[in-house]
Every structure is written in structure tokens, then in C-alpha cells.
Symmetry: C2
Subunit: 136 residues, 2 copies
DNA sequence: CTAGCTGCAAAGCCTTTGCATAAAT
DNA sequence: ATTTATGCAAAGGCTTTGCAGCTAG
């Protein structure tokens, strides 16, 4: 359990009950919820919260750099609150489950400047695809 | 220009004019088209081809392992015909352009067996995100 | 007070599906 | 002849948007 809410307050983020609930639902380790799952959990605490607000809030957290969007082929995007600790993902090709892993080296250093085709590279995303223990 | 069509014939893939056109449009280096772009280009050669057929065909090429799906956050999926030469992607966060790059080492070896959480890992996907020369 | 967030409902984009017709082997 | 692909149109999932009203600061 990290301090997502505290960080947001510290950045002067306007706080509302909806935003607080979204941030609370999202916070934690190995959390990779879809927008719909976030909405479902938020609804348990705040029955009137709308899908639009969940989407707005998630979009904002992503812009702020406090939450990462994880694109999984075909399925709905997932949201990862662990944006401040670089990590990689193990994704199950069957059920879509995601697990965080942490590698030793820095994958960015694998791409020398002279192979970047003029791109200004900001981040690297490493995804291991396969079957999770349950599906294998 | 590789020999996608030849490989497909060799595998006993039932050939139709629609499928041929899709495979032709897709073939080549540094090609990363969306389904809609494939349809647009295919339509130039074969005006009656339907979107459904393009989607069906793309899905089949992916199942056959001849084409890779590239998920880009939010935007439509892109299709990469270069499935037989392992490579990584440089993706522009602004315009979505994709470029292939080839690293020296094998990224899979970066994840030791004891950090796989019981997953049977089949492949690694490495994506470098940043701004392309035009957008930077 | 007032900038800006919320909820609703409608629309949007991308993709899939069902079924009758057409074509490949 | 038989099996499989095609096209159409409709539906589906996920996400965004417009706007009137509400709320935090």
C-alpha cells in the first residue's frame, strides 16, 4: 500500500469523494484493474459514481504520471498504480492476468543512441507473454 | 519484400483473391498497418472486399503465426508481417508511428526461471516509447 | 464565488458475429 | 460435391463527449 492519495494532495489535485474513491481502489501492489473493474469497486463505496467520472479520473491520473496504462491486445486497458517503481509485466495470454516483475538491469540501456532512428526515447516497456500457473 | 504469400501457400492455406490482396498489402519491411488501413489499400485493388473479410483474414494470419498484432494504447491494433525475425518496436507517443529495431541480446534471457512466478513464458515484447524525429 | 468536476445519455471507434451466398479444391 | 470463405448489416465492447447542475477551495 503506497501513498497515492498523499502524493495527489501534495500536487494540489482537487479532491472530491469520487476521485478519492478511485485513487483508493487503485492503490496497492500488483493491482492492474480495468476501468470497469475500478468502477465496480468504486460503486461499492460510493453508489452514485458514474462511469464517465471513473474514465475522466483515470485519464487524469495517467496524465499526471501517477498511474500507467497497460494495453493488452484486444481486451480493455488496465491501470497500474505502481508508476514510481520501474517494473515489467508477465501477462497471461489466456486469461489476461498480469503480474509485476522486476529485472536487474536497465532495459533502456539496451538500445544504443545510434540505433534510435532519431527518436527521443522516454521509456521502455517490457512484457513477457505466456501462460499463468492456473492456465498452464 | 519477403515471401509471405509463398509461405502461406506452402502451408496449404486456402487462397482467394481477397486473402491474396490482404497478404500482398501487408507484406514488406517496417509495415505496421491498422485493419482499416489494410482495408483501404486492399480496396484499391479489389473494390468489393469487405471489412469483415479483412478482419477475418488478419485474425487468421495472426493465428498462423505469420503476422504479429501490435497493441498501441487506445488506438487501433496494428499488424506486423515481420513475424519470423525477432525485433522490437520504437513507438511515437504523439503520432503512433512504429519503427522496427533489432537488439543484440535475447531479452528473454533477462527473466530467470525463478522470477517467473510459475508462468510458462512464450515470448517477450520490448517497446521503446518516445517521440519520432518529426514530432520531437 | 467560480473554476472545474460530476452525471446522464448519446455517440464514437474498433471489432466481432450470424447467416445466406459464392467460390476453392 | 463439399468444405470453407465472403459480404452485409447489425450488434457488441470499450471509451469519449456535450451539457446542465453541483461542489470544493
Amino acid at each position: 500500500m503506497s501513498d497515492l492519495l498523499e502524493r495527489l494532495r501534495g500536487r494540489g489535485w482537487r479532491m472530491t469523494s469520487q476521485r478519492r474513491v478511485v485513487a483508493e481502489v487503485l492503490d496497492g501492489d500488483h493491482v492492474h484493474l480495468t476501468a470497469d473493474e475500478v468502477h465496480a469497486r468504486a460503486t461499492q463505496r460510493l453508489p452514485e459514481i458514474s462511469r464517465a467520472t471513473v474514465y475522466n479520473t483515470l485519464g487524469e491520473l495517467v496524465s499526471l504520471g501517477e498511474v500507467l496504462e497497460v494495453a493488452t491486445d484486444g481486451r480493455a486497458k488496465r491501470y497500474d498504480p505502481n508508476a514510481h517503481h520501474p517494473h515489467q509485466h508477465l501477462v497471461c495470454s489466456n486469461c489476461g492476468t498480469i503480474r509485476d516483475v522486476r529485472l536487474s538491469g536497465n532495459p533502456l540501456s539496451n538500445l544504443p543512441a545510434d540505433e534510435r532512428f532519431g527518436f527521443v526515447v522516454a521509456e521502455v516497456e517490457v512484457t513477457y507473454r505466456g501462460l499463468c500457473p492456473d492456465c498452464a
